[in-house]
């Protein structure tokens, strides 16, 4: 029984308590003091036997199976139980920690680790909901070579300051069936032309899905003249003026989208399904290897090819963070560190698992670790290696929320 449960407080609790008593035993004891990440041995010792509830978006089966693999490794290597709490929107985990804080639950939160970046990280920092700094004290963090790769300590223009640990890299990547489409569009204006010629064969995920929101930002960066404004908080610029070309573009584009823009796919992976069904001829993903993995899993035909737009596409790093009231911070840190290990990063990057790019500076690794990342021949549906250099940085996180709200205002009711 948890220490703060008084079963005699009111009829409601008495009624429930009788039936609940067995299951109450499952509750873990609240943690005492926060572990110190600089004393790593202590952290590992304290972590053993903990159960880490990792809240991570569960909409993609590849991520899920990778997390499943991680859980097996954590159990075997550190004696830590990892439970994947599948979220349909990372925002709900932020909401939960916030509600727990408001309710005065500051040491027995229900979340130990969150897969996070961008506006959700900004929101949690703003409300002091994160534990840290811890990231730079993780033993494997050095392998990212942060001095040379500032993206692993920058999240949507904000410095992470050690409150989240890098996990993987994403970049918008388009793909199409080369057996049906010969010349896919290379920028936003030609995408509109292409959609007009091929009505109903392109779409983007319904806002506020993060892949869909990223499409909005991609379009905005290409279409607006005021790029610098996007890297400042949205409140510092004239939102209407900056975004005006985007809405004009979407107004023109929507009638030519899948279902004439009357509905939108649920998520990024849903675009893949629609490609698989032959409903779409052109789609995009946050993962450069997405199409190749889909071909290997019989979801897409072998004639599918990937590319990035001529002017480059948005890319970002995604992270893991620890809520301030996590009762299993030691376990969460050991998990975050394991995620940065060459073994875990290589497994994550392999096409058979997920295909998410590593945040490690692979050239700096020793030869044995580098070998882990050798995957043999590139898959023909995969993005050519050189294409990825063309990465556009993410705008300030406030733009994401502002764009989402404005989109829902305009297109939320069809």
């Amino acid at each position: 029984m948890p220490t703060d449960l008084n079963p005699l407080r009111g009829t409601f609790s008495t009624a429930l308590a009788t039936t609940l008593s067995t299951a109450m035993l499952a509750l873990a004891l609240p943690a005492m003091a926060n572990p110190d990440p600089s004393d790593w041995q202590n952290v590992v010792a304290e972590a053993e036997g903990q159960t880490v509830y990792w809240n991570a978006w569960g909409g993609d089966t590849r991520t899920n199976r990778y997390i499943e693999w991680v859980a097996e490794q954590m159990q075997a290597q550190f004696g830590i139980e990892v439970e994947h709490v599948k979220l349909d929107d990372t925002g709900s985990a932020v909401a939960r920690v916030l509600a727990e804080k408001q309710a005065g639950n500051s040491d027995d939160g229900s979340i130990d680790l969150i897969w996070i970046n961008g506006e959700n990280f900004a929101a949690m920092r703003e409300n002091d909901l994160l534990f840290g700094p811890f990231a730079e004290a993780l033993p494997h963090f050095a392998l990212t070579n942060a001095a040379e790769n500032p993206e692993v300590v920058t999240d949507f223009t904000l410095p992470t300051e050690g409150y989240e640990s890098p996990w993987g890299k994403a970049q918008i990547t388009f793909y199409y069936d080369s057996a049906q489409t010969e010349a896919p569009p290379q920028d936003m204006p030609s995408l509109l032309d292409w959609a007009e010629e091929n009505p109903g064969q392109f779409s983007y995920p319904r806002i506020p899905d993060f892949t869909g929101s990223t499409f909005l930002k991609q379009a905005l960066i290409e279409l607006t003249e005021q790029d610098e404004a996007l890297y400042q908080p949205v409140s510092e610029s004239d939102f209407e003026a900056v975004t005006e070309p985007l809405w004009a573009y979407l107004d023109a584009l929507h009638p030519h989208l899948w279902r004439s823009g009357r509905t939108f796919p649920d998520s990024g992976p849903n675009l893949r399904t629609l490609m698989s069904d032959g409903e779409l001829s052109l789609a995009f993903s946050f993962y450069p290897t997405d199409a190749a993995v889909a071909v290997m899993e019989y979801e897409l035909p072998e004639s599918v090819r990937s590319y990035v737009l001529a002017g480059g596409t948005l890319g970002n790093v995604h992270f893991v963070a620890i809520p301030y009231n996590s009762p299993h911070k030691a376990g969460a840190m050991v998990l975050a560190d394991f995620l940065l290990s060459p073994q875990a990063q290589a497994e994550k990057q392999s096409l058979a698992m997920w295909g998410d790019r590593s945040v490690l500076d692979i050239a700096q690794l020793d030869a044995a670790d580098q070998a882990l990342f050798q995957q043999g021949e590139r898959h023909p549906s995969e993005l050519p290696a050189d294409a990825l250099s063309n990465t556009l940085p993410e705008p300030h996180p406030s733009w994401m929320t502002a764009l989402q709200d404005a989109w829902l205002e305009r297109y939320g009711v069809n």
Binding site: G58, G59, L87, D88, S92, R206, R259, Y298, P301
Partner: protein
């Protein structure tokens, strides 16, 4: 102890619902100190009514509840009227329990696979009949009017209403009524409608109301089949409760109260329709018309239910096909290749949710069955009339889940109970208990009291008679009730997701979580597992009594 059972049941059902509603009502008017709301205000409502598309969300929630229930009830009634004694009647009766056992989400997925532009139906008729080489760009699933949601609801409501009707019918002696009416010259379907239905409807009214309440506020099915821009009110509420912006919580509470209002309005509207229909048909019942409409009604009665049951079965077959499909380009009717990859890959991930599902289902159903048995035994010993408080049993079924579950979490937290497995089990109990009671009560009361009198006269104590005579005699209905309870527990999405803080994962929450990814092959695997579990329960419930009976006879010989 036994005397406390009815009070305990009522407390178990009423207190959580009441506490949950209260804790939604307070924040709806701005008051919830834990979230920083200290003064009453109308701000949540102003914010709610400023939401784009709210009217449409409300209208669709309201309409889908009424339309789907009306359609399902009509189909069930006409089927019962038109198909008595036919092969269709016998096969549907055998199918009804398994169909009822399939969780909503599984049916929704299978149905979506069936009717989508790239779905099985389109593949069957393409390109031969339609000329489609690519799926048509038609908005069928997630249509703005919620038609596919309503159709999906009908598929699930039909077996429920049918089972409830079949359970209520015997006490009306329908065969005698029909024989009499036909000897007076009435054709069979008309005879049933004029002589059996008016007595049957009052007996299934509460289940019908429960269906309306469910359909106006369903979440999992609406996530899969419902409109998206905007979604139904219940889906919007879920999103608002999960919004990182805490002010959305207050608005979501207001919306939950609005949802309760919509459900009540739908119930009121239905009640008014009942009165209207009763007035309109009063003359028809005794106007002496004996044949008019017979053919049309019979045709509709038989075909409609045949179609809906076939759809539900086809949905399952579709799930099965996708779960083993390799690459499958439109418009091929069958996948180019079959593979067990999806099953193998899911295998390891299935284990833990399966275990949780079984644990939650077994504990909640066992508790529910014990409580129901205690209540019924008490009723029997005290010679109580059952009717008075029966509607209280329906309370958790009549109040929309989304309207009180969030409040229930707040209420539980305020007495120190955090969302976890125990709370999930308690939450399932709320919904399992009424169904177990409904399934068991009639058989319990109808057991010939002389069995027990004989036992007592042979010197057996009351409780020994209960264990040694009543339970063995009631084994079959008891197991069926248990299977029903398990099926209800397995199908619960919202209570599991909310009361477990997402940390308690069952096959149902996993299957719904996969919906966003919409990998049909994997959804096929999970939805089949989800549908298979309750089916196993029902098969055991059917075969165990026979096996045990056979054993008895063997021992005797």
């Amino acid at each position: 102890m036994l005397r406390l059972a009815p009070a305990l049941i009522i407390a178990l059902l009423v207190l959580p619902v009441g506490a949950g509603l209260l804790m939604v009502l307070l924040p709806a008017f701005g008051y919830l100190p834990a979230l920083g709301g200290h003064t009453a205000s109308l701000a949540p409502w102003q914010m709610l009514f400023a939401q784009p598309g709210l009217e449409r969300s409300v209208a669709i929630s309201f309409a889908s509840g009424l339309v789907s229930t009306a359609l399902a009830l009509m189909m069930v009634v006409l089927f019962l009227a038109a198909s008595r004694g036919t092969w269709l009647d016998r096969s549907i009766r055998r199918l009804v329990s398994p169909l009822l056992a399939i969780p909503h989400a599984a049916i929704a997925f299978g149905f979506a696979f069936l009717i989508a532009p790239s779905g099985l139906v389109a593949r069957l008729i393409s390109p031969s009949l339609t000329g489609w080489e690519r799926p048509p760009d038609a908005l069928i699933v997630n249509d703005p009017l919620g038609l596919s949601l309503m159709a999906g609801l009908v598929l699930k409501e039909v077996p429920f209403l049918l089972l409830m009707s079949l359970a209520a019918l015997p006490q009306l002696a329908p065969e005698k009524r029909l024989m009499l009416a036909r000897s007076l010259g009435y054709s069979p379907t008309i005879a049933w409608l004029k002589t059996v239905l008016p007595s049957l409807y009052p007996l299934i009214r509460l289940p019908v109301y429960a269906v309306i309440a469910y359909a106006t506020s369903v979440v999992d099915m609406a996530l899969i089949l419902g409109p998206t821009l905007p979604p139904t009110l219940s889906v919007s509420i879920l999103g608002w409760f999960n919004d990182p912006d805490i002010s959305h919580r207050f608005m979501a509470s207001a919306a939950a109260v609005l949802q309760l209002g919509i459900t009540l309005a739908a119930l009121l509207c239905w009640w008014l329709l009942e009165q209207l229909i009763r007035t309109l048909t009063r003359g028809w019942l005794t106007d002496g018309s004996r044949q008019r409409g017979e053919t049309a009604l019979r045709l509709f009665g038989r075909s409609a239910l045949l179609i809906s049951s076939s759809m539900a079965l086809a949905a399952l077959i579709g799930l099965g096909l996708f779960s083993v499909a390799g690459f499958w380009r439109f418009p091929e009717v069958l996948p180019q290749m079959l593979t067990l990859d999806h099953w193998q890959r899911s295998g390891s991930m299935l284990a833990s949710p399966l275990l949780t599902t079984a644990l939650v289902g077994l504990i909640s159903t066992t508790l529910a069955t014990a409580l129901v048995l205690a209540t019924l035994e008490n009723e029997h010993r005290q010679h109580l009339q059952p009717k008075r408080s029966l509607w209280l049993l329906y309370l958790p079924l009549l109040v929309p889940q989304i309207a009180f579950l969030f409040g229930l979490i707040v209420a539980a937290e305020s007495v120190g109970i955090r969302p976890q497995l125990g709370l999930v089990i308690a939450g399932h109990l709320l919904f399992v208990l009424p169904y177990v009671y409904l399934s068991l009560a009639e058989a319990y009361r109808q057991l010939d009291p002389r069995w027990l009198q004989v036992a007592r006269s042979l010197g057996v104590s009351r409780s020994a008679a209960f264990w040694r005579v009543r339970l063995p005699l009631l084994l079959a209905p008891l197991l069926t009730a248990f299977a029903v309870g398990l099926a209800i527990s397995i199908g619960q999405y919202l209570p599991t997701q909310l009361l477990g803080a997402g940390r308690v994962t069952t096959v149902t929450t996993e299957a719904v979580a996969l919906a966003a990814g919409s990998n049909r092959r994997l959804i096929g695997v999970w939805a089949l597992v989800q549908a298979g579990l309750p089916l196993i329960g029902f098969m055991l419930a059917l075969t165990l009594p026979r096996l045990l009976g056979a054993q008895h006879r063997e021992h005797a010989s």
